[in-house]
């Protein structure tokens, strides 16, 4: 990897574009993601931009316990995201199904069965701080040796 490539990757890792998708949660984790955007946590000062378009996203935040309506749609959405990309599971639901993982329910957790998950943020819901530090900790690895891989 040349110096120019590593410089480009460094600059890329300082501007992370985030899309979030709710695959059937109770809306609690969505509110915590929304709180990251508010002045108290201010996600944009870290160079993280949330605009909900998978075509220009680097990081996909997956929220929710994967209801049947999302079959094939979540995989399609994951394919729409250009490389390099990672997915982060936000909350207990995409990890274990949490309260919804009971007999005779229709949810199909974990989300890692359907798309590759790079990081998991447990909690019901997780604190905005935890979401923020998870995004910041995966950010350097997303673009690491990206140009070499390509």
């Amino acid at each position: 990897m040349t110096l120019l490539q590593s410089l480009k990757n460094l600059v890329r890792s300082k501007s992370i574009h985030v899309a979030y998708v709710d695959v059937g949660s109770c809306n609690g984790c969505d509110i915590e993601v929304l709180a990251c955007l508010a002045p108290r946590y201010d996600i944009e000062q870290y160079g993280i931009f949330v605009h909900n378009n998978p075509r220009e996203a680097d990081v996909l935040l997956v929220i929710g316990a994967y209801t049947p309506g999302w079959e094939e749609k979540l995989e399609g959405l994951w394919e729409k995201i250009p490389d390099p990309k990672v997915a982060i599971a936000i909350g207990n639901c995409p990890i274990s199904g949490c309260l919804f993982a009971r007999p005779h329910t229709l949810v199909d957790p974990p989300v890692a069965k359907h798309i590759p998950i790079a990081a998991q943020v447990p909690g019901c819901p997780p604190r905005p701080t935890e979401i923020l530090s998870a995004i910041l900790s995966v950010a350097p690895t997303v673009f690491k040796d990206y140009e070499v891989r390509k």
Partner: protein, 203 residues
Amino acid sequence: MPLSLVYYAKEFFRGEWARKFLAAKTAPLEIPPYFRNYPELTGKTCTHHLFCMMACPAPGAIDVIRTPEGWMPRIHIGHCIRCGLCVEACPNGVLSSGRILESIFYDNTRLSFSFRIDVDQTKCMGCGNCAVACPVNKLIDAQMSHGGRASTDDLLLKVREGKCQVLHVEKCTGCKTCEHHCPNEAIRVARLLEAVHAPEEDP
């Protein structure tokens, strides 16, 4: 044109600009001490009453395992919803989370469990499986015979005149062993959890 390039260069090669570009302004906020985080062990001895597991609303979030040092509750991160009910329900203060232990001490509140056993007399066929399987009965009368008949009346459950009878419901520990051993689903154990303020001290 050359002048504007100079102007741009001057603007973008300032040390402050580069520092702001490369380093974030503030570190992520710290978790405050009063936050109810995942319960942690305080080091007190667990007496295996399993009230934490009974109070837990999330499936598979807590279990009590046997270690060489004794019984030990274990929290499963990814299942736990950090509600703190296990911390409040524990009679020994084995777990702690945030300021729950301090606040229940100052407010003098407690979660208390009581149990009710219902025997459906039309379904019960008096087999005595419940009375034989009951761990409380085993402690009182280890000699209890097959069929659930015994001479003493100190028992929790006993078969009398072909039907199961509940004698001392206050001895129940809510383990539901009887429920699992009943072939007819005739016996049901209800666990009643209630928050008590200023509980009277046991004499």
